[in-house]
Subunit: 412 residues, 2 copies
């Protein structure tokens, strides 16, 4: 089993000012393809330990990924220290220098002498050039591969995805290609999902599965390896079809598209408009729906009916219902959905009313009780859940559940 | 300068399944008090390297914080490995064993033989017992201090705050006490804030300042050290008063209280009610306001007027205004604020209308143009901004700006 390690440098990391992104991202992606990271080391800029740590790494790892310290300032000593540790001469790469001048020009920035440092790399280095963004470089040293990447997460990620991961996979697999896909699921626990995956016959060989909790969803990444890119894509389709057969509507459409975007596409495709009546979610459903660019095509708006007066006056919930069964009830949820549908002249009205807590619960209606209503041309629907968690978690679960039911209804 | 390092163990960390919390938290808190962390090492459970890395750390650091691997399973080898590296004998601590039995009883859990392992610690270890939660332990080894903490972030944080940080500060400062306070600021850039802090006479000596960007706010942590706890609290008050004099209303009230909670307290204190009319924020203001428990005392609700019809029908914006100056205008913002105030019979109406992008901009009203309206008994207010960023950033900035102006108006 090929094993490697990651060294992340940056004073902002070692002082806790920002969270590490690079090492975690690389570790996760490598783990998905079955490459083991044995160690992550984080240290500051200009850390005296860097050279020593790099030498230790050379003695035990087959690949080493180093991020940060490639910039033009005096703090950026990664290249010089690494060259010394590896016993390599530094030289100024003319091609890289020309590329840096070109980049600056394109961005309308003046040349400064300190940028020349960016083109100084160890002999034998292969420049990793993603075009239009910061470069890194790779080195072969004895039987090892070393990758030097920028510390800015956006830049690091581009180079990692384009060069490091495919390069390591090809090397480790003797020329194998790799294909990956992530799907989102809602309404299934991590444990249930693990159970499903462990039992599905299609998942028993040749696929690596990673499950990542992403409250309130679970994300699942599938990785397959083989010779032909087309065969791998077909294999991924086959796996996802098998998963879909098993878990059904719990699988949120294709790929990594957020739920609110899936719902939006479905509404647009079917030419339907939406209005929302939000009590305990307080505007969160509207916020999520309008996070999608172009949502004004199908989203007409909503009423945040936090007070009972708003439910009566604006949503035309009858005072008899409120008096008889209260604001948190199936009857009120349905009346809110009908009301908002009518007020906005929308095709679909979606309503939520519940107790987000931590106060306001009762033995009959404990904190976390949420009623939902949906009024559409073809059907009306009322349902409820008892959610666990703090106030924000209950709001999040309520909004997600409402949007998810809307997705299922519109998809039919 | 005292220097230390952190070793975080956990397979979930080294595979990138979850982000490291513990090492970053410890590094940040230590940096705030002027204690340097030179190295963070992350490795898996049962990693063969652990013992070797610990020995290296013993040779160069004055304090070492180790998290994870203290549990009852076979994967939890931190204690045994560390004892071996330090040349210490393990023994079963009867006091700790009794405490574990008591904890299990209190939680209604049955005793299992494997829990006995939790009471096996190295000779000379001092048990860190926060009462009612997982324990850790501390060791003195030659001139060094070692701390062994659980890997669960919630448990680690309790022990770190209660024992590790005060212990290290006292040790490093020869018995000094420590006081810290964090304040939130909105409407000042990180660079401007650094400038202010570097020039304020009160901040020139005896205070450590940490600035943490927390979009859309900046958080600032002040740390002072000295002999008397009361004197330190007085010093912190003096520093915050000086900062407040300099930056004024940019300082969001006392402590770490979120903006929506500050606004809520002000509204409650003054007996005022609020209703919101949201266009481009799509419900985000209502969502934030209702994240505060008890917000139904002052928040009546809102109208998400995404369509022009909603602005006309529900908020009574006149068709002439919409035709003449459009939905994104000062006139419409004010009419929306007045409209929502009237519809909800609220004391204050707050309105936002703008272009969140990425489409919908024009040369006169580019993406990021947002108009705000506020209608209160004592005053009416209209203002606008041109924000930069993506769709979600513009929504976030618009909601924050609206709530912040509301805070300033209600505070008067």
């Amino acid at each position: 089993m090929m094993q490697g390690e990651i060294i992340a440098t940056g004073t902002e990391l070692i002082t806790g000012r920002v969270a590490d992104f690079n090492a975690r991202y690389a570790a996760r992606r490598l783990h998905e393809v079955g490459l083991t990271v044995g160690l992550i080391t984080i240290l500051g800029d200009r850390a005296p330990l860097f050279g020593e740590l790099l030498k230790q790494a050379l003695g035990r790892s087959q690949f080493i990924i180093i991020t940060g310290g490639l910039g033009p300032t005096e703090d950026d000593i990664t290249v010089a220290t690494a060259a010394q540790a590896l016993g390599l001469r530094l030289y100024q790469d003319e091609g890289l220098l020309a590329r840096i001048r070109r980049c600056l020009e394109e961005q309308g920035l003046p040349w400064e002498e300190r940028y020349a440092k960016l083109a100084v790399i160890p002999e034998g280095a292969l420049v990793l050039d993603p075009g239009g963004a910061a470069c890194g470089f790779a080195l072969r040293h004895r039987d090892m591969r070393l990758f030097f990447l920028p510390g800015v997460p956006r830049e690091m990620r581009v180079l990692f995805d384009e060069f490091v991961l495919p390069g390591l996979v090809e090397w480790a697999g003797g020329g194998e290609a790799l294909a990956q896909r992530t799907v989102r699921l809602f309404g299934i626990s991590e444990t249930q999902l693990q159970q499903v995956v462990s039992e599905l016959p299609e998942f028993q060989h040749g696929v690596t599965v990673g499950i990542y909790p992403n409250f309130p969803e679970n994300h699942l990444t599938l990785t397959v390896r083989g010779q032909s890119r087309e065969a791998l894509e077909a294999e991924l389709n086959r796996l996802i079809a098998a998963l879909s057969r098993e878990v059904g509507d719990v699988l949120l459409g294709p790929g990594e598209i957020p739920l609110e975007e899936l719902v939006g596409s479905l509404l647009r495709d079917r030419g339907l408009t939406l209005a929302v009546a939000e009590s305990c979610t307080g505007g969160l459903i509207g916020h999520r729906v309008t996070n999608v660019s172009g949502s004004s095509d199908y989203f007409l708006g909503g009423i945040i009916s936090y007070s009972n007066e708003a439910k009566l006056d604006l949503l035309k919930v009858s005072p008899e219902i409120l008096a008889a069964v209260g604001a948190v009830s199936a009857e009120t949820a349905l009346a809110m959905a009908r009301g908002v549908r009518e007020v906005f002249h929308a095709d679909i009205g979606l309503a939520v009313t519940g107790i987000a807590g931590p106060t306001g619960g009762s033995p009959e209606k404990p904190v976390g009780t949420v009623y939902f209503g949906l009024a559409a041309p073809s059907e009306e629907d009322v349902w409820h859940y008892l959610f666990r968690g703090g106030r924000e978690e209950i709001k999040t679960l309520a909004a997600q559940t409402a949007l998810d039911r809307l997705r299922r209804v519109v998809k039919k």
